[in-house]
Symmetry: C2
Subunit: 195 residues, 2 copies
C-alpha cells in the first residue's frame, strides 16, 4: 500500500503541480476547484487527496517549491569574484530564472493572501532570505566603495521589483532576445548602484 | 424614474467602488459575489444592478477609474523645465499616486485576466499612454544628451516596475517617510539613466 501510494505520488505530483499552477494563474486560486484540477490532470478528485490534504496546501506546495528551487538555483549559480561580478550574476540569474517561471512568479505575488498565517510566514521568510542574498552583495560593495547606495534595503527592493517586472512584458521571439534584455537591465542596475 | 436612478447612482457609486475594490483586493475577483458587495455597501443585491450590469463591468469600472485618475493627475502634475526635472517629477508623482491607491494597483496587475477582450484593450491602451508619458521624457533626455539609456522602452518598463514595487512593502510609520523613499528612489532612477 505504502509503496503504491508512493509511486502514485511520484508520477502525479509534478503533473498536479503543473496543472494547478496553470489553472490558478489563469483563473485565480479562489475560482479553481479541486475537481477542475483533477480533471486537468486526468484523475478522479479523490486521487488528488492522496497527494494533498486541501487546496490551500496545494497552493502552499506551489509557492514553497518555487522558493525552494529559486534559493537552490541561486546557491549553485556561478558568481565570479567581488561584489560587481556577484551583482551582475544576480541580475542575470534573477531575470533568467523568473522568465522561465512566469506563472509561478505571478502566483507568488498574487495569492499569498490565500495562505494561512504559518504558511505565509514560511514563504515570507524564504523571500526575505533571497532578498538578503542581494542585500549582502550590495552591502559588501558599499563597504568596499564599489557601489554608491544611499540605502541597501531600498536598493534591494528596487532592483528585485525592476528585474521581476520583465516577466510581465517579455515575449519570446519579440524585439529583444533574453541575453539582450539581461545586458540592458544589467547596465541600468550597475548605474543605479553608482558603479 | 431617471432622476431617482441618477441620484441613487451618485450616492452609492463611490461606495460601491470602494467596497468592491477592497473585497476584490482581499479575496480575489472570482471569490467575491455581487451579494457580498451589496452587503458591504449596505444595499440589496438588486440595487447593485442599478449601478452596474454585472461583476465584470464593475471590475472594469474600477480599473478604468484608476487609469483615468492616474492620467488626469499626471496631466496636472507640476514638472519643471527640461527632461531631468520632468523625470524627477514623474518618479515622485508615480510613487505618491500609487502609494495612496495600493489596492487599485494590486487589482490592476492581478485581475486584468478577468476582463473581456474589449475592456482589456481599453485598459491596455491607457496603460500604454501612461508609459509613453515616461518614455517621451526619456527620449527627450536621451536626444539632449542628458540621459545615457541603451533602450528607452526597457528603461520605461524598468523604472515603472521599480517605482510601483514600493506599494508592496511600504508601511506608513515605518523606518522611512514617503519623502525619504521618494528621494532614495529618485537617486537610483537618476543614476540608472546615466544622469
Amino acid at each position: 500500500m505504502a509503496r503504491k501510494t508512493g509511486s502514485h505520488s511520484q508520477i502525479t505530483g509534478p503533473k498536479i503541480r503543473e496543472q494547478a499552477l496553470q489553472l490558478f494563474a489563469r483563473h485565480g486560486f479562489a475560482a479553481v476547484s479541486m475537481r477542475q484540477i483533477a480533471a486537468a490532470v486526468g484523475v478522479q478528485a479523490g486521487a488528488l487527496y492522496l497527494y494533498t490534504p486541501d487546496k490551500e496546501a496545494l497552493l502552499f506546495d506551489l509557492l514553497k517549491t518555487h522558493m525552494d528551487e529559486l534559493l537552490a538555483a541561486w546557491a549553485e549559480a556561478p558568481r565570479g569574484t567581488g561584489p560587481m561580478a556577484a551583482l551582475e550574476a544576480f541580475v542575470r540569474f534573477h531575470i533568467g530564472f523568473n522568465l522561465s517561471r512566469a506563472d509561478a512568479v505571478f502566483l507568488s505575488y498574487m495569492e499569498l493572501r490565500n495562505l494561512g498565517p504559518e504558511n505565509f510566514a514560511m514563504i515570507e521568510s524564504q523571500r526575505r532570505a533571497y532578498e538578503t542574498e542581494l542585500e549582502d552583495i550590495l552591502k559588501t560593495g558599499q563597504q568596499a566603495g564599489t557601489f554608491l547606495i544611499p540605502d541597501t534595503k531600498l536598493a534591494t527592493m528596487a532592483i528585485i521589483a525592476m528585474l521581476t517586472g520583465v516577466t510581465t512584458w517579455f515575449r519570446e521571439g519579440g524585439r529583444l532576445s533574453r541575453p539582450m534584455v539581461e545586458d540592458i537591465y544589467w547596465d541600468m542596475v550597475r548605474k543605479a548602484v553608482g558603479a
